[in-house]
């Protein structure tokens, strides 16, 4: 089984230096792109590969890049930003790539920046990733020394400067226009779209924001071609995926597997199944902002289309497992506390609705709930859904909520009828 992203990552060992990375073929794709290909050729390879963004929404990467104005009339300044904010609860996949092989990401960024002819790039990194920050700074310095970053890379006319920016916290820094505001030194509130960042982004210039995992694929696709990439997946969507599992399983961890691997294989083979004495009760397939699935969905392929068909999202591909000894209402309260706290306050439904949801859940958890509260929660699930707010935080927040009302209704009702939490 091919594992392009993680083939050179060894657990508990420092990542490869530039020299070591070059010995295994590193920076070859970058050299080829800059010396032999035109930006439009790179764009074509990426578009043909069907690579879809790994930041959560699955937007086709080639299509995103194609919106950037090109040619002599395009703005001179353009930016490429790597989204390494990774703050969604239950998500820890980008950390693996950042700590495991920063040169792979840097190479991917140089190629991506070349394709859109951006001369400046940022890695927007979460403050908590201290080890990654050190490794990235060291790798960027090595790449400058080798002449892979800076002016006239490899003697070509192309120049690209890359900077590390570490955030000062807040989930909204991961939302791409919030991220751009943070990079400009402002509050990380999102921007109204249009204009889209591809046309008017950082400091008003065309900007592409891509996830760590997305950009890390780029050198491999340029090296091996679009057809190779498509064949990596089990279900035709293209590529591998860094999956992860957390919760009370025997072996919580991350693995690179073909996109479309079933949940059953991920949870029971790779994560070793549930800890002794526990049963699987629910699954958040792609981080905190995805709809719950249950045991009946274990044979669903973890790709964008298949998870969508059963009413949830692939999201970040990191599964959070709810076991039968953990109270689902308590878990929901914990999730909605996070979303309420991280709301940026821009839209009324999100700013006022989420704390309300949090309070209702707390009162049910404490045994003070009423049956009507379940209708209120359902009402909020609708009113905070897609299309009513500036960004996807609120719709994401109600995904686990609406699905919990569907799958764990009896548990809610038991709390209300017995006036206490059955798990306490």
């Amino acid at each position: 089984m091919e594992k392009p992203l993680t083939q050179h990552i060894k657990p508990n060992e420092p990542p490869m230096s530039l020299n070591e990375y070059e010995k295994v073929g590193g920076y070859k794709a970058m050299q080829r792109a800059l010396k032999e290909l035109q930006p439009k050729d790179v764009l074509k390879i990426i578009s043909d590969s069907n690579l879809r963004g790994r930041g959560g929404a699955g937007f086709p990467t080639g299509m995103k890049w194609s919106f950037v104005p090109m040619g002599d009339n395009a703005p001179k300044e353009k930016y490429l930003v790597c989204n390494a904010d990774e703050m969604e609860p239950g998500t820890f996949k980008d950390r693996l790539l950042l700590e495991g092989n920063p040169h792979q990401l840097i190479e991917g960024m140089i190629i991506a920046a070349f394709a859109i002819q951006a001369n400046k790039g940022y890695i927007f990194l979460r403050w908590a990733y201290k080890t990654a920050a050190e490794l990235i700074l060291k790798s960027i310095a090595e790449a400058y020394n080798a002449g892979y970053l800076g002016k006239n890379i490899l003697g070509t006319s192309y120049s690209f400067d890359l900077y590390l920016h570490t955030s000062v916290g807040r989930y909204m820094c991961g939302e791409e226009t919030g991220l751009l505001n943070a990079l400009e030194g402002k509050r990380a509130t999102p921007r109204a779209k249009p204009p889209f960042p591809q046309v008017s982004g950082l400091f008003g210039k065309p900007t592409i924001v891509n996830n760590v995992e997305t950009l890390s694929f780029v050198p491999h696709i340029v090296n091996n071609g679009a057809e190779w990439f498509k064949k990596l997946s089990l279900t035709g969507e293209g590529g591998t995926k860094i999956y992860g599992v957390s919760g009370k399983v025997k072996n919580p961890n991350t693995w690179e597997l073909p996109l479309g691997t079933t949940m059953r294989e991920i949870i029971f083979e790779h994560a070793g199944g549930m800890r002794d004495g526990l049963k699987l009760k629910g699954i958040l397939p792609g981080g905190a902002s995805t709809d719950f699935l249950t045991e009946e969905h274990l044979d669903v392929n973890m790709d964008f289309t298949s998870v969508g068909k059963v009413g949830s999202r692939l999201g970040t591909g990191t599964l959070i497992i709810l076991d039968d000894k953990t109270c689902p209402v308590g878990m929901l309260h914990n999730l909605e506390h996070f979303f309420a706290q991280e709301s940026c306050g821009w839209c009324t439904p999100c700013r006022d609705g989420l704390p309300w949801v949090e309070k209702i859940l707390l009162s049910i958890e404490e045994g003070d709930g009423r049956m009507e509260d379940l209708d209120l929660l359902a009402y909020h699930s609708k009113e905070l859904g897609p299309g009513r707010t500036f960004c996807a935080l609120a719709p994401g927040a109600v995904e686990p909520l609406q699905s919990s009302l569907k799958y764990f209704r009896e548990d809610y009702e038991m709390h209300i009828k017995n006036k206490r939490c059955p798990w306490r």
Binding site: E86, M87, E88, P89, G90, T91, F92, D94, R95, R126, W127, A128, Y129, K130, Y163, S167, V168, G169, R170, Y171, A182, E184, G185, K186, R187, A188, F203, G244, V245, S246, G247, K248, P252, N253, T254, L284, A288, T318, I320, I321, L322, D323, T326, G330, M331, N334, L335, H337, F338, Q341, E342, C344
Partner: protein, 154 residues
């Protein structure tokens, strides 16, 4: 006024941005690094240096959870209170710290040694529960380990 060291560091940052105001977050980081937290005085110093109003600086400062607008202890314990750590029992860890240090979230020990704050997911959910003290990540916590972890921070 910003201290000379702070000014020097900020001058470097200013080279990377098209206009001064864009360095607001970097300025907050610099001041917090040197003073441990960002006081009203710190806000005014930054505003003066960047030629914007103190309100503009404070608007940014209060948005971000890693800018401390209140004084914190010598070491800040950031305990993850997000979902995977909830499932794996961060509350027990919180209680243990509370028992040992007599502080809850948002509080500082009377000797100024520790402040404990809740923090969203530290991105190490496969090793939940987790916490950070200063720059160090501590993972796979259980109550028994807390004593020896705290011991290292004087």
């Amino acid at each position: 006024m910003l201290k000379t060291e702070e000014q020097k560091e900020l001058e470097e940052e200013l080279k990377l941005v098209p206009y001064k105001k864009a360095a607001t977050i970097e300025a907050l980081k610099v001041v917090q690094k040197h003073r441990g937290w960002v006081s009203d005085e710190g806000i005014k110093d930054i505003a003066e240096f960047l030629e914007i109003t103190p309100d503009e600086v404070d608007g940014v400062a209060t948005f971000y959870n890693m800018v401390f607008r209140r004084e914190v202890g010598r070491h800040v314990i950031l305990l993850c209170d997000s979902v995977s750590c909830y499932i794996l029992g961060y509350r027990k860890i919180q209680e243990e710290i509370n028992k040992k240090l007599k502080i809850n979230f948002g509080e500082t020990t009377s000797d100024g040694r520790f402040t404990m704050l809740p923090i969203p997911c530290l991105g190490t959910c496969d090793h939940a529960p987790a916490l950070m003290i200063d720059n160090d990540l501590h993972r796979d916590l259980d109550s028994d380990k807390i004593d020896s972890i705290l011991e290292a921070y004087k």
